[in-house]
């Protein structure tokens, strides 16, 4: 039977709509599953003014057979098998025929009982109770109150349509009684619409200039863009995020193609597209990668017969471009180097000082990274870029369009004729903005990006700014993801703990927390972020735990370790090897370190193991050092037969203390070598109880 729900609200932000759709779907699925209502289909739809759930559910619960138990059989029946007074009383109290009684076996013993049919509850009744619960459980990143009620929601709500099987459900939410009526587009067709099912609802709304399906609106936008641009043989510059937001921001999309004076094409592309996108939500128009003096906007309207919407948007854009050109011309009058003096007046963070302070730190971190990464040839350019990379925060352009930070500095550096390495490093140093964003393409850009992010993270953690739950005011997670992504994408090999030491030393006594405490917190934080990144890449949680077990030294090694484990996990040697490693760990548990002395060996098998270990070690260690864990792991497998024989023939816990200590020492050196690849004890193998996965936030 068909279910349709529409909650009408004042314009909801796109991010809230996305989250509400997920919550609604999960909420209704759970409510219905909990009471065993069959859900044949369930989907959500939305516009900025409506959250919609449409589904096909069973009419009610299945009738069920229910078992009612009475007194124990020994009490209910006499030795002759006839009912006792207690047995008769049970039948009487339930008003059933004694003939229906039967013996029921339970874990506690045999009882007298009977089966009866229980009538299922109707879905309409279930929905009446579930609807206010699901709607009331919706949460949003920022909630508000209105009028005189303490109720909080994303934006004020105005109406509730809720029908099941064509009839309104007897329910209400926050004073809104469910009906089978809705309204059309605010401006184009605001009248009431009656709708008892999805088909009439959708058709009625469409007539009233509301396209209820966001995917359909997106298709309309794409089709209209294609049609508008066909005569120009041009394309809209792809911006999936903007397209997504716009399809959630309108009830009836209307693509507007507008133009701006060609004179503004002298502005850099970055500036043009930002001026269009920010505030006005416009797409740029390009042909053969060249910007055309046109833009595309998406209006919430049926048509623009008089061209007023187009002309209005053109006028607004022209004013913005005029501003941008003014900034571009004025900013270029002062070279970055000269402007840099102003950085002392811009706060980076209250406890961490100004951007001048940050710049000085960046220069040192960049120098250190260049040394460590063997990038001597770009060191002086990279350090110069570090000195200038934050200067664009002082330009009018970045004050107006903050999204251009970094890129603007790079463009101004280019205009000044600074070295290409310097320009590019400045341009790229905020990249990657997210795990989906590209890492810097140049080495100097990558180094500056790492330095900038490490400075922010170490500083913020050292200043005691904690990340918790959804609160991450300093963007520490994004920055840490950036560090990991740059290291992984560009395969940069540097010791992460040593880099932390260096950054901490550069901060000196500016930080609130002690160095050791800050370092430990940073390592912990990064381990969590790496776990998150690897989980996103789809690796098994226990393999991730194993790869993180040796600690984070080289960031690239953490990925290499988990890749090696993942690649070998289905090899027949893997499982016995893991069990062997665990056996060693169990033997060594809580024992103090012991030394191996080859002269103390008694048995042939322990000598064999010792020499195998030496050979394997000398082969594997260079591989481990360069991060080739797959091959190192392959060699480790060769320990297995020798270890098997060892355990068969040699008693580790020998009576003689010296012999025993020596054997434990031998096992400890094996454990140590294994731990340089992974912490195998974390890996779950068949037949073991699965450990609870540790999930990163």
């Amino acid at each position: 039977m068909e279910f349709l729900l529409e909650l009408r609200a004042e314009e909801l932000p796109a991010s809230h709509i996305r989250s509400a759709r997920e919550q609604l779907e999960a909420g209704f699925r759970k409510e219905l599953a909990d009471v065993r209502i069959d859900v044949r289909s369930l989907k959500t739809l939305a516009t900025p003014r409506r959250l919609v759930v449409a589904g096909d559910f069973a009419e009610g619960q299945e009738d069920r057979e229910e078992l009612v138990t009475g007194p124990p059989l020994a009490v209910a029946k006499g030795p002759d098998g006839a009912l006792t007074a207690a047995g008769k009383g049970f039948a009487r109290s339930h008003g059933i025929d004694e003939g229906l009684l039967e013996a029921v076996r339970t874990p506690r013993g045999e009882y007298l009982g009977f089966k009866r049919k229980a009538k299922g509850t109707s879905t309409a009744d279930i929905l009446a109770a579930a609807v206010p619960r699901v709607l009331g459980a919706l949460t949003f990143p920022k909630m508000m109150r209105w009028g005189e009620s303490p109720f909080r929601f994303s934006r004020p709500i105005h109406g509730l349509l809720c029908v099941f099987g064509g009839a309104p459900v007897a329910t209400s939410f926050e004073g809104l009684k469910a009906t089978d009526e809705t309204v059309g587009h605010r401006i184009a067709s605001p009248g009431p619409i009656k709708a008892g099912e999805l088909a009439t609802y959708q058709a009625g709304l469409e007539k009233a200039a509301v396209i209820i399906d966001p995917a359909a609106r997106k298709q309309m936008i794409l089709a209209q863009i294609a049609a508008a641009l066909a005569p120009l043989k041009a394309k809209a510059y792809p911006d999936p995020e903007l397209l997504d937001d716009l399809s959630l921001n309108v009830e009836h999309p209307l693509v507007i193609l507008g133009a701006f004076p060609e004179a503004y094409l002298s502005l850099p592309l970055e500036v043009l597209s930002t001026a269009m996108r920010e505030g006005q939500h416009l797409f740029s128009v390009v042909r053969d990668k060249k910007q055309l003096p046109h833009f595309l906007g998406v209006a919430d309207a049926v048509g623009d017969a008089k061209g007023l919407i187009r002309r209005g948007n053109e006028r607004v854009l022209k004013a913005r471009l005029e501003d941008a050109r003014f900034f571009w011309d004025r900013d270029r009058r002062v070279p970055l180097g000269e402007r840099a003096a102003g950085l002392k007046d811009v706060l980076f963070q209250e406890k961490l000082g100004s951007y001048e302070d940050k710049t000085q730190r960046l220069k040192k971190i960049v120098g250190y990274l260049c040394d460590k990464l063997g990038a001597a040839e770009i060191k002086s350019d990279a350090v110069e870029a570090a000195g200038l990379c934050k200067v664009d925060l002082l330009t009018e352009m970045v004050k107006e369009f903050s999204g251009l930070q970094g890129r603007m500095g790079g463009l101004y550096a280019r205009e000044e004729g600074l070295a290409t390495v310097v320009q590019e490093a400045i341009y790229e140093h905020y990249q990657p903005g997210s795990l989906e964003d590209a890492s810097p393409a140049t080495k100097a850009g990558a180094i500056l990006s790492l330095a900038d992010k490490m400075d922010s993270i170490v500083g913020a953690i050292g200043a005691g700014l904690q990340v918790s739950g959804s609160s991450d005011p300093f963007g520490l997670r994004r920055n840490a993801h950036g560090v990991c992504k740059v290291a992984l994408d560009r395969k940069l090999r540097f010791s992460f703990p040593l880099l932390l030491d260096r950054v901490l030393a550069i901060y000196g006594d500016r930080l609130t927390l002690g160095r050791a405490e800050t370092k430990a917190a940073c390592l912990d934080f990064f381990a969590g972020r790496l776990r998150f990144i690897l989980e996103k890449k789809g690796y098994r949680y226990d393999l991730i735990n194993a790869a993180l077990g040796p600690g984070v030294d080289q960031i690239v090694d953490v990925l290499a370790r988990v890749e090696a484990l993942d690649g070998l996990k289905s090899s027949p040697q893997f499982e016995p090897f893991i069990l062997m490693a665990k056996r060693i760990n169990n033997i060594l548990k809580d024992l103090p370190p012991a030394k191996v002395n080859p002269d103390v060996f008694v048995e042939k098998e322990e000598r064999d193991l010792y020499s195998t270990l030496s050979i394997i070690g000398s082969n594997a260690l260079p591989m481990i050092a360069r991060g080739d864990f797959a091959r190192a792991q392959g060699i480790m497998f060769k320990l297995q037969p020798v270890l098997n024989t060892f355990f068969d023939k040699v008693l580790v816990m020998a009576e003689d203390k010296r012999t025993r200590q020596n054997r434990l020492g031998l096992l400890q050196s094996i454990a140590k070598m294994l731990l340089s690849i992974a912490d195998y004890s974390q890996i779950v193998v068949e037949g073991e109880k699965s450990a609870k996965p540790k999930t990163a936030r």
Binding site: E11, E148, A299, A301, K306, G312
Partner: protein
């Protein structure tokens, strides 16, 4: 339609919605929100409806009269309705129709935009209203003011009068607007913009402004202690304006900025707390 007609139209419309028409407040403010007709009246439980024109001074936006869109003083039409009526969006949309805007020919959008003013400890949730891409109104459900949770919740509707007028007259330059049939915006305002830009950016005495800030701050504290809350609040407004001038003079350092804003906010929060009888905000 001239600016003057626009003001008359809004006055008539909002008076029809039960708003009392207040007169412009006579202390410099950065936004209509800061005047006592909004600040104090949103704090208590009583119903309140008001509409008024308020000049908004933002010294840093001065452009010596050379920018067609930016001025260091512009005019806002401020409406407060408490509690926010259920149909307030429709009431607002109707106000645009009452000005003769045929919305069927345009694109009217409520675009997510949450507002906050750290100086007076206020924030709210709402939208900027865009008409064919032009921001004409800030539409906010006030949640907190002076650090106090507001209940009932007021709605604040702030029209940018010049923006709206540029739309109505279809003009690209603010100075080309007609204030009345005979007086242009240029006649009224150009000289003021030039001279005040020079004052805001170069001529204002930093020493005098600092002294004034400190004197007003001290006076506000003294007045709060005597429970003279309205005069104390005026002093806070003067602090805020002096701060803005110091800022446009480039005289405020990094750490100072935060300190000065928090000095004002602490006083404003205390005034709000005392005004509502000691009820603490969250």
């Amino acid at each position: 339609m001239s600016v003057q007609d626009l003001i008359l139209g809004l006055h008539r419309y909002w008076a029809g919605q039960g708003c009392y028409l207040a007169q412009t407040y006579d202390v410099e403010v950065g936004a209509g929100t800061m005047t006592p007709d909004t600040f104090f009246r949103v704090l208590d439980k009583r119903n309140w409806r008001v509409g008024y024109v308020q000049p908004s001074r933002r010294p840093d936006d001065g452009r010596y009269g050379e920018n067609p869109n930016r001025v260091q003083k512009h005019f806002q039409y401020q409406v407060i309705m408490k509690p926010s009526p259920a149909g307030i969006q429709d009431i607002y949309v109707q106000s645009l129709r009452s000005l003769g805007i045929a919305l069927e020919d345009h694109d009217l959008r409520f675009d997510e935009d949450n507002w906050e003013s750290p100086t007076i400890g206020a924030w709210g949730v709402g939208w900027q209203v865009l008409l064919d891409g032009l921001e004409i109104t800030q539409f906010t459900y006030f949640q907190q003011c002076g650090g106090i949770d507001l209940s009932p919740v007021p709605v604040e509707i702030t029209y940018g009068l010049e923006r709206l007028e540029m739309f109505l007259e279809q003009k690209d330059d603010i100075y080309d607007l007609d204030w009345s049939a005979d007086v242009s915006y240029r006649d009224l305002r150009l000289r003021e913009e030039k001279e005040f830009s020079a004052y805001n950016f170069t001529a204002a005495s930093v020493t005098m402004l600092r002294q004034a800030f400190n004197a007003c701050h001290k006076e506000a504290g003294r007045l709060v202690a005597k429970d003279l809350l309205l005069p104390a609040y005026d002093m806070c407004l003067k602090c805020s304006h002096n701060f803005n001038l110091l800022d446009s003079r480039g005289a405020i350092s990094v750490t100072e900025r935060i300190k000065m804003i928090s000095l004002i906010r602490a006083l404003v929060n205390e005034i709000a707390r005392r005004y509502t009888g000691g009820k603490e905000g969250v």
